[in-house]
């Protein structure tokens, strides 16, 4: 009990410490409270999300980071949309390719970050090249060409952001005298001018009818009217198709949101959307004037009108459950290792158990939040499958610990949690990784049955492999008693049959889904073949062990190699870039998987040779 309380106390302290580290990032830089603003909903990439998630995704896209000069992403976004003139001088474009920097005529810097205003000349210069590159298949592009295309795409996205509220922001225009009584030159914006647009157009038409098209023949007053008309048209054409900042609820399609320009230019603006537009105008004004009262009142009002609550996602962004759990898994692993080293010291064991439980709780919280936010089962993408296996595999290892009580299950939980956590970190998409799914995947039933079944199977396979590694390592080092070896061998065989149950059922369920969707049960698609490979491997090892073709050590070697088989089936087959499940080729991943296979083959062979030598001796 004493050990338990000591461990519990220490883990609570460490949990609070790590939590504080995470939440400490929320220090306010702007004088205005950004908390309510970041919770406002925005429609982006097919789903409603808090502005904070959008801001982080955009900033990561441009700069590779989630903060800009000690400002959080939301503050940077507010500055960009509410005060674009100064924001365009922010150095947020990260250009790592030296040839592109040279091509764009940019100076070399310690940190290759550049402002949009610095890029404009280079963008104009390289535009003809980009026009040609657009039609070239992506796989035929060099890394420089890809970088150039990406830069242009990012610049286009950024200009959309800069202009997203340009219809609400004050304009620096020279108003003709006849409008000065009706329009306040200090606060004039596009929407105000638009009310007089017909009158201005009529005036211009009259001028052209009487004096022709040459502005030099116009009087000063006429020139000012013509320039004003031109300015209105320029603002309109620059905003054509600007649908990035979708923050206004659509008055027509319930649940949809539109960008302010989209709302105006598509003619969907109604009396319902008018107050919302006005509030965004107030928001922009209060940001520029640092008017705390109006800012707070307006953000609260907009938040009250929001059609969804973004709190779960904000909490998810704040806690970062998968990154935080990685720390606890690593703790758990090291503590379990220390406990084994120091002859099963109980306080260390309890600490390790608590760390693993906190890590699993955090991951479970993360997975549940994703289910709530995305309103679908937790696995729909490759990245999500890694997150889910990162939750279930350590959980299964803990279950094994509960049965075996020899710390090896605990050690496995920490190890598998840490390695999958690291894999998840490396596979995470930049920005927002909560994605909507394509039509064929948009099915709750199959995502719940087939996908979860197969990913749970991956989890069992990995635990089997880790236990088999430990068995080999323990035997090679001579650290395991005969009882423990027998216990572990029995455990790994049970684990293997459980893995077979889930992978076989999951594979067949996948076939049935394919039958429902594409009209064939089996199409030899790489992912299907990968799943079958795991099943065949397990069947081979299990049957050969039972029939006596494999000795216990050989069967353990086979189980240990399951990590490579699962890696190949789970991630490797996607690298082929063919079939219905491919996620594209990633060179780093290819070499990583190759190296992992070699290392595993080397490790397993070496350990088995040592065991053989010991047995013969």
């Amino acid at each position: 009990m004493k050990h338990f309380l000591f461990a519990f106390f220490l883990m609570t302290l460490s949990f609070l410490y790590v939590s504080n580290l995470v939440w400490a990032q929320e220090q306010k830089i702007s004088p205005l409270s950004i908390e309510k603003f970041k919770a406002l909903p925005i429609m982006h990439e097919g789903r409603l999300k808090p502005i904070e998630t959008f801001a982080q995704a955009e900033l990561v896209r441009f700069s590779g980071k989630q903060s800009f000069e000690h400002q959080d992403a939301t503050t940077w976004l507010a500055h960009t949309v509410f005060d674009p003139a100064t924001a365009s001088n922010d150095r947020i474009f990260k250009i790592e390719n030296s040839e592109i920097r040279h091509l764009m005529g940019l100076e070399e810097r310690k940190k290759p970050l550049y402002a949009f205003t610095e890029l404009t000349k280079g963008l104009q210069k390289t535009f003809p090249t980009v026009e040609q590159l657009i039609n070239v298949p992506k796989q035929n592009l060099s890394s420089e060409q890809t970088a150039l295309l990406t830069l242009h795409e990012n610049a286009l996205e950024y200009t959309q952001l800069l202009r997203s509220l340009s219809l609400l922001l004050p304009l620096n225009v020279d108003l003709p005298d006849q409008y000065k009584e009706e329009i306040n030159p200090e606060t004039v914006n596009y929407l105000v001018l638009k009310k007089h647009a017909i009158d201005i157009e009529d005036s211009i038409r009259n001028i052209i009818d009487t004096k022709g098209n040459n502005p030099e023949t116009y009087s000063e007053k006429e020139q000012r009217i013509a320039i004003l008309g031109l300015q209105i048209r320029t603002i309109e054409s620059a905003a054509e198709g600007n649908s990035l900042f979708r923050v206004i609820p659509s008055p027509i399609n319930d649940g949809d949101y539109l960008a302010p320009w989209e709302l105006i230019q598509s003619g969907q603006a109604t009396w319902e959307s008018s107050p919302v537009i006005k509030e965004w105008e107030l928001l922009a004004q209060s940001w520029r004037e640092t008017d705390t009262t109006t800012w707070n009142k307006t953000t609260q009002s907009l938040l009250n009108q929001a059609k969804i609550k973004t709190t779960p996602e904000l909490l998810y962004n704040k806690i970062k459950p998968f990154q935080t759990s990685l720390i606890f898994y690593a703790f758990s692993f090291l503590l379990a290792l220390a406990s084994i080293t120091f002859h099963h010291k109980r306080s260390l064991s309890w600490l390790s158990i608590f760390a693993a439980i906190i890590a699993i709780t955090l991951e479970a919280g993360g997975v549940c939040t994703r289910i709530i936010v995305l309103n679908r089962p937790p696995v729909g993408t490759l990245y999500e499958s890694i997150l889910f296996v990162g939750l279930v595999a350590p959980l299964f290892a803990l279950l094994m610990e509960w049965r075996m009580k020899n710390l090896l299950g605990l050690l496995s939980a920490g190890f598998v949690g840490t390695t999958i956590g690291l894999l998840a970190l490396s596979m995470a998409d930049e920005g927002d990784n909560m994605k909507v799914l394509s039509a064929v995947l948009n099915t709750q039933f199959w995502l719940t049955t087939h996908v979860l079944c197969i990913t749970i199977g991956y989890g069992w396979c990995l635990v089997t492999s880790v236990i088999a590694h430990m068995l080999l390592l323990g035997q090679a080092l001579g650290r395991l008693t005969k009882d423990i070896i027998k216990n572990l061998q029995h455990a790994q065989n049970t684990l293997a049959i459980t893995a077979l149950l889930f992978t076989a059922t999951g594979t067949i369920l996948g076939g049935i889904w394919a039958d429902q969707s594409w009209g064939r049960f089996w199409g030899w698609d790489p992912k299907e073949n990968g799943a079958l490979l795991i099943v065949l491997w397990l069947v081979w090892i299990i049957h050969s062990r039972i029939a006596g073709q494999f000795t216990s050590t050989q069967a353990t070697m086979g189980y240990a190699f399951l990590s490579v088989i699962v890696g190949t089936a789970w991630i490797g087959v996607n690298l082929l870039g063919v079939g219905l499940h491919s996620y594209g080729f990633t060179e780093g991943l290819f070499w990583g998987l190759g190296l992992f296979t070699l290392l595993e083959a080397g490790l397993i062979t070496t350990l088995s040779l040592i065991i053989r030598k010991k047995t013969l001796a």
Binding site: S243, N253, D256, V436, R520, W524, L536, S544, A547, V578
Partner: protein, 386 residues
């Protein structure tokens, strides 16, 4: 009789030996890996045919290839081994019930696979909004078809039999068709002015070139350039071209009474009922170009049975009728009206995977429960022994 049974049992026991499975499974895995990697270069369909749909295949560099057993051989041995194991080596006891059930499930699954391979027919039906059709086109087979004046096919040659210099005598008419160039996958280019003589429009302006086969079989543009000889009207004789999907195939007035149309087309077969497309819908995720759902609102018109009824086909929600299953496969929104593409499958073995999956899962669960219960007992025994 007893002697026959004993001999049969002896053979069965030999064929059920675990050594066979021990060697067949690695072969199966090796073939699976080879066939999967090959898809990168030759595409899914070709790899499927070569590695999984044949009795043997060749591997190695072009200069030195060796034959290896392919899918049908390996699966055949596996099936025999599994059947014999099930019949002659099973221990018929409650303790082994889980194992027996899962083996039976696998047997059923493989049997279903054989049934599917032998009986299933796949194709697609494309129909425009407001139109109806009962014609299913094959994904892979293409035919050279010559239609008569009434639009009836009177010559049909599968594309596998087409080749350069193939001479085809058209029955009941003095005309011969000689294939000058056959390409399974053609690229189209402008015909140089110096080579235009003797060509009929549009062959005088465009030419077909042999291109490497695309790894996606459906993308291969199969075509021919050919010469017509023997027509009384000299204007008819000359060079023509046609290819799959060509909107203006050559139409030749052989004489005053006979007109023929020469087409290269996907193999067609009729359905015993027609499908009318009432409406096609594509829902998008807001603010993206990613579809969240495709829906075809159709009407089945079955004159044979008198059944006419509306139906909805969506992704993952096919329609099953008279042994045929219709799936939402693709669409075309480029024309004057939307077209839906429905995959049509007739598979007599489709029930087997459903049954097999249930039986395998049930078998494995029973096996696991028996094993875990056994573990619990042995753990208690060990504790007691200590």
């Amino acid at each position: 009789m007893q002697a026959i049974w004993t001999s049969l049992q002896k053979i069965g026991l030999r064929l059920a030996r675990p050594d066979i499975l021990f060697w067949v499974l690695p072969l199966m895995m090796a073939l699976l890996i080879l066939g999967t990697v090959a898809q990168k270069n030759i595409g899914l369909y070709a790899a499927q045919e070569e590695y999984f749909g044949s009795f043997y295949t060749w591997i190695g560099p072009k200069t030195f290839t060796i034959p290896i057993p392919a899918g049908l051989t390996i699966m055949g041995i596996f099936l025999v081994n599994l059947t014999c194991k099930f019949l002659f080596r099973s221990e018929w006891s409650w303790q082994r019930s889980g194992s027996i059930l899962s083996h039976f499930g696998v047997l059923l699954l493989v049997f279903g696979g054989v049934m599917t391979a032998l009986t299933s027919q796949e194709g697609f039906l494309m129909v425009g909004q407001g139109d109806q059709s009962n014609i299913v086109e094959d994904y892979h087979s293409r035919n050279l078809v010559v239609y008569d004046t009434e639009g009836r096919p009177f010559v049909t040659i599968p594309h596998e039999n087409l080749h350069d210099a193939l001479r085809i005598e058209l029955p009941t008419m003095p005309v011969t068709l000689t294939i000058d160039k056959y390409c399974f996958n053609c690229s189209i280019s402008m015909r140089p002015q110096s080579e235009q003589e003797g060509w009929h429009s549009p062959g005088n302006r465009m030419m077909l070139n042999k291109a490497p086969a695309d790894s996606t079989d459906e993308k291969n543009l199969t075509g021919i350039e050919f010469t017509i000889n023997g027509a009384k009207d000299e204007d008819i004789n000359g060079k023509y071209l046609t290819f799959v999907g060509f909107p203006k195939p050559p139409v030749l007035d052989i004489d005053d009474e006979q007109t023929i149309t020469i087409e290269l087309e996907r193999a067609k077969r009729p359905l015993p009922f027609a499908v009318k497309l009432i409406r096609f819908e594509r829902d998008m995720h807001p603010g993206t170009d990613m579809a969240s759902a495709y829906t075809s609102w159709i009407k089945i018109i079955d004159e044979e049975t008198g059944n006419n009824f509306p139906a909805k086909i969506e992704m993952n929600e096919p329609l099953r009728y008279r042994g045929f299953t219709l799936y939402q496969s693709s669409f075309d929104l480029n024309g004057d009206k939307p077209h839906t593409v429905l995959a049509v499958v007739n598979n007599k073995g489709r029930i087997f995977p459903y049954l097999a999956s249930l039986i395998i899962a049930l078998g494995l669960i029973i096996h696991l429960v028996i094993r875990l219960t056994g573990l619990k007992k042995s753990t208690h025994k060990e504790e007691a022994a200590r």
